[in-house]
């Protein structure tokens, strides 16, 4: 038999990131690569700097030092580059606006527009070297961010359908019927009743809101998704369903994920690989099984041996 093809392209190249709010507060000298199709878990206790790191990686907060490089495949059009005025797109997020706009879906050219400010010839994007508008467009169109609290990721005042459709409209889709159809499809996909497409998220339970946030984030099929404690605020009975759903979506959509969690059981079931953080630094990395079954660092051993098992 032939040697298996095990190489996977690097999607996110994180180079020596430091972001400190004060001595020992934040994250320091974080350096790793995320490969395509990987689910990377960042684990550690509260105050370990994992949330700060996620904010830097996901484009929300510039580091004091270091670079975050997003390596796109060379032949891929950059969705973000197709939006000339990101601010305009953001205003089309009320459901009424969607109803008014009834013209056929704008043809998305899919061509890569070459301009002078191309980051590098390799189609790499240096997250904090590109302009603010372009970074925000990238976050909204090619990446996804799932917040721990669904209220931070949803628009609570507009319908479930409008929440799901927002990113699609930002990509230029205007056909109301098609947006609604996609909305219902995604509600089914995350096991929400499509009959509730016109209900506002505030009428949903916490678990349902979290599923809606996931649908809203994944509807544009982002390649890279950041998740901050996605099962954190949920009842245990709801967690299991969500975990299974996330695993299925990761597989079906071929997602690459950076997942922050303090829950090692969640990390075991979702992540391929783990970074263990303590006091702002990575103390150990490895396959999830290795970290949990054969921890090397004193802190990881303490963390793993402190987990309660029912």
């Amino acid at each position: 038999m032939k040697k298996p093809a095990l190489e996977r392209p690097v999607l996110l190249d994180v180079q020596d990131i430091t972001r400190l709010y004060g001595p020992g507060k934040g994250c320091e000298e974080i350096d790793f690569r995320l490969h395509a199709g990987e689910v990377l878990g960042i684990v550690g206790e509260s105050g370990s700097g994992k949330s700060t790191l996620l904010r830097v990686l996901s484009g929300l907060e510039a580091p004091d030092a270091g670079r975050v490089i997003y390596r796109r495949l060379s032949n891929e059009p950059e969705a973000a580059r197709q939006v000339n005025e990101p601010e305009a797109a953001r205003q089309v997020n009320e459901p009424e606006a969607a109803r008014q706009v009834n013209e056929p879906e704008a043809a998305r050219s899919g061509q890569h527009v070459v301009d002078d400010d191309e980051a590098t010839s390799d189609f790499d994007l240096d997250l904090y070297a590109i302009g603010e508008a372009r970074r925000r467009a990238l976050l909204r169109l090619e990446w996804g961010l799932v917040h721990q609290n669904p209220r931070d990721g949803l628009r609570m005042g507009v319908s479930a359908g409008a929440n799901i459709g927002e990113r699609l409209m930002a990509q230029g889709q205007r056909h109301y019927g098609r947006l609604r159809e996609t909305g219902q499809e995604w509600m089914r996909q995350v096991e929400l009743d499509p009959g509730r497409i016109d209900d506002a998220p505030r009428t949903f339970s916490g678990g349902m809101q979290q599923r809606l946030q996931i649908a809203r984030t994944l509807v544009t099929r982002p390649r890279l998704v950041f998740m901050d404690e996605p099962t954190g605020g949920l009842d245990v009975s709801v967690q299991a369903r969500l975990l299974d759903m996330l695993r299925t979506l990761v597989r079906q959509l071929g997602l690459s994920v950076v997942l922050v969690t303090h829950d090692l059981a969640v990390a075991r079931l979702l992540a391929h690989r783990l970074l263990v953080m303590r006091r702002g630094r990575v103390v150990e990395t490895g396959l999830t099984d290795q970290i949990l079954d054969d921890p090397q660092h004193a802190y990881t051993q303490l963390l793993v041996s402190s987990v309660l098992t029912p």
Partner: protein, 247 residues
């Protein structure tokens, strides 16, 4: 004489060592394996023998990347070259486990509340296989292992030990991996189901899979093993394969 004996082995392990350093217990170091070597060919089943605690499961876990490899070499051989597992980057293990190395562990560890049939078919879906065909394969295996059909749509969390083990076996064998690691797959099975596992192992060998297993049940061991590798209590002398032919 086995037809593949002269061919290149599928797996070579050389001078493998393992110890655990326990920081929380005053930094004591526990040696569990020293200087272990073996070769394994396609189409054969090598059975690890020796008392409990001798490092049999440890070896399987190192081969699966579950335990880290600090000293010694583990190589997989292919027609077009070899892979050194001790130097493989973490991300490369994902594909290796999906396509090359399968593992039937002693304990089933799955997402709670997922249906048994979905648990079993997941390794095929991970390769992008057709869902309908994967489901059929899973059901065929569960039926062969005499798991009642009414249980297929239930999550295995509340099943008996023997039922969970059969789910685990089905999930482990469905992927038909070229290298299959078996950690006591028959421990809590009745005679009829032990026979099914023996048949699954024979079929895997016939397909050209290489199997490395732990079987405490002597009768099963004698039926499946082409060779025995006794691990020795002194840790040092557990090296060479005995070329004992059991068939």
């Amino acid at each position: 004489m086995h037809s593949t004996t002269n061919a290149q082995p599928r797996l070579t392990v050389e001078a493998l060592q393992k110890s655990f350093l326990l920081h929380g217990q005053g930094g004591i170091e526990i040696d569990v394996m020293r200087d272990l070597s073996l070769t394994l060919h396609a189409g054969e089943c090598l059975v690890l023998a020796g008392r409990s605690g001798i490092g049999k499961s440890t070896l399987l876990k190192m081969l699966y990347g579950d335990y880290r490899i600090h000293q010694g070499r583990i190589r997989l051989h292919f027609d077009d070259g070899e892979l050194e597992l001790e130097s493989l980057p973490a991300y490369a293990w994902h594909g290796l486990r999906r396509d090359v190395i399968g593992y039937v562990s002693q304990f089933l560890r799955v997402v709670p509340r997922v249906a048994t049939v979905d648990v079993v078919m997941e390794p095929l879906l991970a390769r992008g296989a057709d869902e309908h065909q994967s489901r059929q394969r899973a059901e065929t295996l569960l039926a062969r292992l005499n798991l009642p059909e009414r249980l297929w749509q239930l999550p295995p969390g509340t099943f008996s030990g023997g039922e969970q083990q059969r789910v685990n076996i089905a999930r482990g064998f469905i992927g038909e991996h070229p290298l299959l690691l078996l950690d006591e797959p028959t421990a809590s099975l009745d005679a009829a189901n032990r026979d099914v596992v023996v048949a699954l192992i024979s079929e895997a060998k016939a397909r050209g899979s290489a199997l490395l297993g732990i079987f405490h049940d002597e009768e099963v061991r004698n039926r499946v093993a082409d060779r025995l590798l006794p691990l020795d209590g002194s840790l040092g002398a557990c090296a060479a394969d005995t070329q004992e032919n059991l068939s």
